[in-house]
Symmetry: C2
Subunit: 213 residues, 2 copies
Amino acid sequence: MRLEQIPPPAIYRLSFYLRQLEDFKRVSRQTISSKQLGQALGYTDAQVRKDFAYFGQFGHPGIGYRVDELVGQLKKILGTDKIWKVLLVGAGNLGRALVAYKGFAAKGFELAAVFDSDPSKQGLAFGGQKVRPISELPDAVRHEQVKLGMMAVPAEAAQSVADELVAAGIKGILNFAPTSLVVPEGVSVQGVDLAVQLEQLSFRMSLSSNDSE
Amino acid sequence: MRLEQIPPPAIYRLSFYLRQLEDFKRVSRQTISSKQLGQALGYTDAQVRKDFAYFGQFGHPGIGYRVDELVGQLKKILGTDKIWKVLLVGAGNLGRALVAYKGFAAKGFELAAVFDSDPSKQGLAFGGQKVRPISELPDAVRHEQVKLGMMAVPAEAAQSVADELVAAGIKGILNFAPTSLVVPEGVSVQGVDLAVQLEQLSFRMSLSSNDSE
DNA sequence: GGATGTGAATGCATTCACAGCA
DNA sequence: TGCTGTGAATGCATTCACATCC
């Protein structure tokens, strides 16, 4: 099947399968069925099988999936069998938390450089990196061969920072600023808006308080 | 139309419409068409109209939507026309960043209490709040009438913290721990896994590097 | 003319159900 | 028997296209 016509939700679920499988691996589970894996994540067994089937045949009829094997396959599909260098723009509170976050390194993401436009922050040590001015961005991207960038900057600055990332050659942006970015074809943006997440919960709270039927 | 049968993706988009409209409001735009709003977010005009139509008739034929009016309607639908008290469990790096994050307050979320199981953190001031031991959770939830909780704790601790939140009466959980939670009917969980977001970008990077057709 | 709101048509994603293999 | 992989069937979500209103 052509990669381009795989349902985006399936690709998203892949990450959760992988996460769950690593948990199973940690407790030394050798093999798992689509039913068990689905149950742990709230999906049906058919969903699980179909999702994997988009990418190949990873299971063993009568047995299930070998955890270790499947973890390897999923990493390969998701690209996390390789190390990815990532840079960060924005050395504020959130930036600090991102740099300290263990989960990125655990998946093989490596912090290559940190930037901030505020001169008072420049030069400070930050997760083993010195905070550098944005002007050094293009050099760093080329020199370090970085493809991915995280933006933890205020909404007002976000579009212009994104433009600079794109100009420097960055191909994927993880955007924590609460604004939508315009980027050219060939550049991917993944947005994470913390307030939107809470807002969605607020919606569900409002629902359950007026369910009067 | 019954709320239960509105497409979940539509509800999710509502948050982005609202965000975009607040931007338009900030630059004093009075009125906007479904086409213009969609363009700013990468949706079709039909999508925009249908999404709003699930909830009522907010537009004016020939004119479009009055920005101010629509902002008010969306807030009401999403529940952010009211103040929501939120508590936080986990006073680590990420917790610190969440407390400092302005975006929550801007949407009317109010930090009611902060908890951490680590005694060395307890008592410290944290976003205008003293960090308290988890044992005080039930009291705080009842006393302060809190419905929402954010969890910024390690994956290993996440399920047991979630259990305590549920036991204390919390109805919505924003989970930053990289693990899936089991909660009873009537409790909502919204997960935010930062590493998963980067992983999804990694996938798209891998795609574009082998597009050889 | 310029826009919304909406049934009907299309296109996607999920689930069913079963053949086939260990 | 227990489980996968997969075409066929179903069920959702999006888009079309047009009646309707300012």
